[in-house]
């Protein structure tokens, strides 16, 4: 198993207030990993730093064996990391169709790439709204679009930050099913979400952070077995 992602001693600060104090995280190609923790513990910050959206104060990030620390976000994006951001961030001035057409890319020459058509097949609701602008969608529709937009870049690593937020139960199930399918097809994913049971079923490895530090790390079986961790670090 080759190493896909390796984060070492990551520290990030917003101005004077430091948020991450040395996060370590590693993923192998084809793996699904999660990042868990309560509100405000630094999950989003970790993902943003990974995508080059926050400057790294200390530590390093290696992706596909290359040191990508300090790269500009677009370069990281082209290297194969795609983000489904917290809060969806659809473009208000692009139609649904344009969201998918504009960012479609198959840089790795995948045999069966994600195309706009495939995304529409996954979320028929989006197909019905293809002429709507990004801000003319319901919250849930925006979430679907954000996932679709990341998929059409055909990334090596798909990063999802609270991608099920605001989705109806049925759709949420669909997303989980879709992630499992992606996973089965060999797509590497890094997920932040609050539905721990679902994550245990989906992912191989879990990292729990608390106040910007890793406090627990282990496999799905270990996490499933120890509900003390759930209670202590996740407030469940």
């Amino acid at each position: 198993m080759s190493s896909l992602l390796e984060i070492r001693g990551l520290e990030v600060a917003y101005g004077a207030s430091q948020v991450l104090f040395g996060i370590d995280l590693a993923m192998a190609e084809g793996e699904a990993a999660t990042l868990l923790g309560r509100n405000g513990m630094g999950k989003t910050t970790t993902l943003r730093a990974l995508c080059g959206l926050e400057p790294v104060r200390a530590g390093s990030i290696r992706f596909m064996g290359e040191d990508i620390t300090g790269w500009r976000p677009d370069r990281i994006g082209r290297a194969g990391i795609a983000l489904v951001p917290e809060g969806r961030q659809c473009f208000p001035n692009l139609t649904v169709d344009e969201h998918l057409v504009a960012f479609f890319a198959n840089r790795r020459q995948v045999a069966e790439p994600w195309t706009p058509a495939r995304v529409y097949a996954l979320f028929p609701r989006l197909a019905e709204r293809r002429r709507n602008l990004g801000n003319q969608l319901s919250g849930g529709e925006q979430q679907m679009l954000a996932i679709g937009r990341a998929l059409v870049t055909n990334p090596r690593l798909l990063v999802l930050d609270e991608a099920t937020e605001g989705l109806a139960p049925l759709i949420r199930d669909e997303i989980w099913a879709c992630l499992s399918a992606l996973r089965a097809a060999g797509q590497s994913v890094l997920v932040v979400d609050k539905y721990v049971e679902k994550l245990i079923a989906l992912a191989d490895r879990h990292t729990v952070i608390e106040r910007g530090q890793v406090v627990w790390r282990g496999s799905s079986a270990e996490l499933d077995a120890d509900h003390g961790i759930w209670h202590r670090y996740l407030g469940i």
Binding site: L53, G77, F91, F103, N135
Partner: protein
């Protein structure tokens, strides 16, 4: 009479397309990248000066036009790299201040280099006279402007609304961070758009120079008109800029042509003589205020 109406309609079209040429670059930078560029008019002025100077040196209008456009594009590149790059992220007020400053600098520099007197820029001899169409004469050069305006409109529409580059630019304008995270080099893209906008300015300046005066301060009066156009059309919409330009062109032309006569028929001669021209000169502003009153986002709001 029909001939006069026809000619005035053609004039409206021509004035509208001329405004469109000016507004086109502005829509790109202002409407799409959301950067208020008051110095747009200055680029237009500098473009016209470059074209005029080059045309004089080369003794050919077309060579001058090419060289002037290239020169303005280079200037645009330098400006973008040194200043505008910092401005995109700032609020509108900072943009207003910085580009207002650019106007001051540009006007003064042009005066320093070329002196205060207007520069000579004549159309190519072949186009300098009128041509006959359907029994009446119309300046050939104005027909060229109509043609170029239509071509630029079509190209821009395809580029912005239909091409992936256009989508990236719009996405980058709305949410730069996210666009970058999706693998698009927004910085480079914006530079390219700005340079393109500057080249459009020079095209407009070079083409309009033979019709209008190439002089210091030519940018400001035009700038306001261009703003009016894109505001009426709805900021960020190429279609809106075109429609807005045509509306302004037509209304202004017809207003000037008809209002005095109309008022003379209805009002006492004295009142008509003062009111007519006064009304005609504020007509487009009235129009803009009225349109914004009913459609506060312009006719074709790009972002509903």
């Amino acid at each position: 009479m029909t001939q006069l109406v026809l000619e005035q309609a053609l004039n409206g079209l021509q004035f509208g397309l001329m405004l469109f040429l000016l507004a086109a670059g502005l829509t790109l930078v202002f409407g799409i990248m959301d950067c208020i560029n008051l110095a747009h008019g200055s680029l237009y002025m500098v473009g016209a000066y470059f074209v005029a100077a080059a045309a004089q040196a080369a003794d050919s209008f077309w060579l001058g036009l090419g060289a002037g456009i290239a020169g303005t594009a280079v200037l645009g590149l330098l400006l973008e790299l040194s200043l505008f790059r910092q401005l995109y992220r700032r609020d509108h007020l900072s943009q207003v201040l910085a580009t207002f400053a650019l106007i001051l600098i540009a006007n003064e520099s042009v005066r320093l280099i070329w002196g205060p007197a207007p520069l000579l820029l004549n159309p190519p001899a072949a186009l300098s006279g009128p041509v006959e169409i359907a029994g009446f004469f119309y300046p050939a050069y104005r027909l060229v402007i109509i043609g170029v305006g239509l071509v630029v409109a079509a190209l821009l529409y395809l580029l912005v609304a239909k091409s992936r580059i256009g989508m990236w630019v719009r996405a980058g304008a709305a949410n730069r961070e996210m666009t970058e995270a999706l693998g698009i080099n927004v910085r480079g893209l914006f530079t390219a758009v700005f340079v393109f906008g500057a080249a459009l300015c020079a095209l407009a300046g070079g083409l309009l120079g033979p019709l209008l005066a190439v002089q210091v301060g030519m940018g400001e009066s035009v700038l306001i008109l261009a703003f009016v156009v894109i505001i009426i059309g709805g900021i960020g919409s190429i279609r809106g800029a075109l429609v807005g330009a045509l509306i302004v062109g037509t209304v202004d032309t017809l207003g000037r042509a008809l209002l005095p006569t109309l008022l003379r028929a209805t009002l006492p001669a004295d009142a008509a003589a003062t009111l007519g021209p006064a009304l005609a000169s504020i007509l487009i502003y009235l129009l803009m205020a009225a349109i914004l009153f009913f459609k506060p986002q312009g006719l074709f709001p790009a972002r509903a």
